[in-house]
Amino acid sequence: MPIVVWQLVFFVFPLLFLLLMSFWLVKNYRMVPGFDSVNWIKMYGKGYFWDGYWRTLGYAGITTVITSVLAFPCAFALAFKVSPTVRRWAMFFLIVPFFTSYLVRIFSWQIFLNDNGIINVLLSSIGLGPFSMLNTFFGTVVGYLTLCLPLAVVLQLISLSNVDQRLIEAAHNLGCGSFRTVFAVIIPLAKIGIIVAAVFCFILSFGDFVSPYYLGGSKPPTLSILIIDTTKSGQQWPRAAVVAITMIVTLFAIMFTAIALAYRRRS
């Protein structure tokens, strides 16, 4: 029961208010309650909105794939190849980054990635570079990975740790090679955790404002940056609400599809 009340108060009601607000108007920098579809027509009629939409979707998709692929070997090694002590320490070090502000971590990346930054200085010592990394897509992805990778490793690790070791041994006893065991036994058994980790990566990177702004130079902008732009000039909160609702609906669609995939049984 408390969870229902919590969801109603902190999710359903604000969401309904957001939906209602998308039909309001702004007059003299002040929101005026009403019911006008002009904000939806205006935003959906703009090319830059759809460019931003597909770009944000693409960025989040790419980040999800990269994060999942990078996280899996790490989580696999921690689950099956190291001692419990090492695993506990690894968990500790994966959680520690969350003790500091994400914004601070992103700003610190600027020191590493800029043209005169630490990475380019090191590369120049061996005659390479300088490479443009800040204010690029690469910079944005570095930021997304900073946000998502530790979380993905933790979620995958929890899932892999729950895989029944006897089934792995049975696969080996039946002649299944190591590589095939991973894909035919371990991944299917840990599927739910791996997909949940991927969904979290997608949600976090889809809505993130900090990385594309401070490491990607807002070039080109994502939907979260478009929300900021829309509110900054003219105080168009109702139009920002249109963008936000579109993002929420998209995330719902992705999430339900992923969950359906995760819990689908083999026929």
């Binding site: 830059y48 800029n114 043209d115 204010n135 702004y213 130079g217 105080q235």
Partner: protein
Amino acid sequence: MMSKKRVPGKPDHTDIGRRNILKGVGAASAATALSVPMILVPPRANAATELTMIAWYGHGEPDMVEEFEAMHNVKIKAKYYAGGDNMLALISQSPPGTYDIVLSDGEFVQLLNEAGYVEKMDPDEYNMHDLFDEYARFPGHWEGDDLYSVIVRFGYLGVSFNTTIISHEEAMDYNILWDSKLTGKVGHFDWHLPNLGCLSLRDGNDNPTPFDINAAQWKKLQETTLSLKPQVGGYFDYGGTFSSLKSGEIHAMCGIGDWITGVVKKDGAPVDSVVPKQGGIQWTESYSIGKGSQKQDLVKKFIKYMTSGPGQVRSTQMAAYPGMSPYKSGWTALNQANPAEAKRQRMNLDGPNCIDDLREGRIHFRRTPVQQSLEDWNDFWSEYKNA
């Protein structure tokens, strides 16, 4: 073992019962509650009066207001905003009297006045006689003969650049932004008004102002701006603009000026700002009295102080971002207090100075677009960022 006998009808003071403990604790608490405020809180006669101010970041910081606070036993409580739209929204959502002092960009004063958010001011109560002629009847601050805002500082926007990459002469032309050596190294402060204003000047739209352009000029301005896209390295907020210029990641920006590079330079970065030959944009900041303020006499004292010599010395050197003084006594005071800074900002008592640019007609006031809506400009800026 001896036992003490109780005397009937007489309280036993040595009996430490629950009730007595509670009584003692209650009495002690009451005494503490009564005495602690006497110890911790200064006598009421010395309590500082609070003045609320809505302003850009930095205006309520100690480097600006500590002297005034000490002089009048006042505490300035500032609410900072980021942009004129944001300021209007914050005021519109607050009851009258919420803000005693309103610091606004010049172009937003008229909107504040139209919406009834500021009080009428008496010019005789301020240092208007001390203003340079160019600022005596500042557009937007007056409605007929009624004054609604008093200017406190100004600055110019043009081209800001890394001096190790671009020479002063090169920076004097907006076309340097299209130079191949700046590909990917041109930055934008993420606000359409100063950027499009400067690029409008590059297109030759200086009569009457770069913000008053017809449909053909607007179309040309959009083409000019879009042609700059391959050169752009990023769009930055206040902090990002500082760090990108300081780290050398960005080599040139248009639409900003000494309010950014003056601070970055203090940190040792090789940057400077100029007003190019095609002209520049002027930003101004001014004080108004918030509608319904109950402390108007104190607000008047504050405005008078900030526009006096000592206040202007602080204002011109504000830690968050510097600005030039439109007051003659401000120039005199700064030249006495910090001649190097007066020279750097070209507030020279003799010889060429920063107001010469204005007198020569090279500077245009920043304002909202005249023939297009603000929304048109904003929409185009979003399109440009996405291009």
